[in-house]
Amino acid sequence: MTSSVGAVLKKYRWQFSGMVAWTLQRVTGILLLLYLLLHVHTISKLSQGPAAFDAAIATFSSPFFKCLEIGLLGVVVLHAFNGIRITLVDLGIGVGKQRQLFWTITVGMGLLVFLAGAIPILLFAVLKVR
């Protein structure tokens, strides 16, 4: 595995947005799976009663974890919008305009949605604006 990652880093000029997108999709996908593991574990504490569950929620409500949550939103948005772009390719839409599609959809639209979600979290849960 490392030889292929090393080879990819050394051999290719990363000007091909397709390669950046592919790597991003993989990395964000794995991160999201790991998050899902944590999430299912936390939610399964529901079966241990209010004390255990509320304690877990309290841990994850600290500003530090809320900032991580903003990061999670970024990861989700990247993965989702890149996924939309990939599906468009598979449908044959946007043939010949891949680089533009990556920047407008994955990065552009993604950024908009990210900000729409991140700013409320930042304001209300991290900075505790009332």
Binding site: S4, A7, V8, K11, Y12, R13, Q15, F16, S17, G18, M19, A21, W22, Q25, I86, V89, D90, G92, V95, G96, Q98
Partner: protein, 210 residues
Amino acid sequence: MTVLDALIRVQREMDGSIGFRCSCRVGMCGTCAVQVNRIPRLMCSTLVKTLDAEVVTVEPLPHYPVIKDVAVSLAPFFAQWRRAQAAFRPKHADAPTLAIIGKDSRFRQLAATKRDCITCGACYAACSITGMNVRYLGPAAINKALLRVLDPRDAARADRLKTLDQSSDGVWRCHTQFNCTAVCPRKIDLTDSIVRVKRALLRPGKALTV
């Protein structure tokens, strides 16, 4: 001055032992494909001034065994070519009349955009999947197989589709990174070809109308 011109000059004036391949010098034969500043290209079609760099680095194409300097063996490329059964197999070998593909037929129109492959090997070199997975068919082989699969005169469609469908090294290993399309000197949309095969495998009855 092209990169090929530069290399020939180096060979004549500086080091007569350097090994590289060339033939037609006009971008038609596909022989001189190498990696220039880390992008697979035809040497004869790459003007040095368009590289916009102080230093021009010429390397052998990646994913192929190196024979000498920048001359590589295209054996892996053609092994996949054969595996995808690039050669046409006629339905009616002894037909009394010609099988005509009208110039307005959909096959003809699509084929016109896919059949210019000069087997230069650049796409196979550019693909990051072939770098990891030596058994992956690669864009050129899949493109050629698509051409045959769509051809109404070809007899081996089911066979080819089976090879293309293999989970470990068929079309499903392509993740539409578009490296191949970016480097093809004949401007074939290889990613489009591969996606068409995927769609054909999903709806077998629609293989011809892909």
